[in-house]
Amino acid sequence: MSGPAALAPATRTPGAVRVNRVVLAVLGAVLLAAGVLVLLLGLGALGADRADRAVLPGGGTAGWVAPVVGAGGLAVAGLSAWWLVLQARTDRLARIRLEDADGGRTVLDGAALTRVVEEEVEALPGVARASAHLSGTSAAPRLHLRVRLAGRADPGEVHRAVTGEVLARAREALELDRLPARVELDLPRATGRPLS
């Protein structure tokens, strides 16, 4: 099934995505190594009586065991909390800083831009709903636009109107030569058909 879900929402920061890959790879390697080690132990590959002995000498009653386990647990908890916090960080842009001079700064609410873009797109024929958000940086913002089409819309026509007119006006307002945009056209299921 290939719906809009096939396009991953590009809202996480590139840094968070990289950290996720590394953490998952390391976690996978550690678990794999542990599994292989236990398997080898159980099969007697590391000495026949190894599997029958206690994991720790003395059955884990030595004085250093509890502090070490505690410290290890704390470290795991800390790293997990850091990883969790990282997931909440997105590269959504709430406001665009247009100018920061001695005389004062100029800030544009991201919602102001997305609201007017949504209104313009929704005013196009064949569009049922539109939602937009910004990402990137103030100097190089990116626009994400999701457009739900009404029954008998021509997706090509809507796409041309969005990229040709609405995005041109957005560039004009922001005085940008480039405003990379990601436009998702969402077709109603009943009339869904591939873009030629």
Binding site: T106, R169, E175
Partner: protein, 129 residues
């Protein structure tokens, strides 16, 4: 040094005779009116959870005055798709001009926050009072 033999003792320097203070409120009024004079800038309605709850007539201004310096924050809407940065510059220039000219402030910093972009209405729909 001896005092001049006049009946009236000389007045102290003007700065020592009293102080003129300009209220924040006065600066806010003047700045709001000045900002509204810029063609492509208007007020933006105050929004709570995205729902407009106040009329959008004049830009909202908050100001803090220290002596003859002032920091002014202007919250306004800009006509779409006018270049926002240039409209903000015009607003800043106009506000500084009026505050220095009318109130005699010397150092004015104007921060502009654009809270809405409003598509331009057809001329007959625009109400001029």
């Amino acid at each position: 040094m001896t005092a001049p033999p006049a009946a009236v003792p000389p007045l102290p320097e003007p700065e020592q005779r009293g102080r003129t203070t300009i209220a924040d409120r006065a600066v806010e009024r003047v700045a709001a009116a000045a900002a509204a004079e810029v063609d492509l800038a208007t007020g933006s309605a105050r929004r709570v959870l995205g729902v407009p709850v106040s009329a959008a007539d004049l830009p909202r201004v908050t100001a803090r005055v220290h002596g003859d310096e002032a920091t002014v924050e202007v919250d306004l809407a800009v006509a779409w798709p006018a270049p926002v940065r240039q409209v903000a510059r015009q607003v800043r220039a106009r506000v500084v001009e009026q505050l220095t000219g009318l109130l005699g402030l010397r150092d004015v910093r104007v921060d502009v926050r654009v809270g809405a972009l409003v598509p331009e209405r057809a001329p007959e729909q625009r109400r001029v009072v």
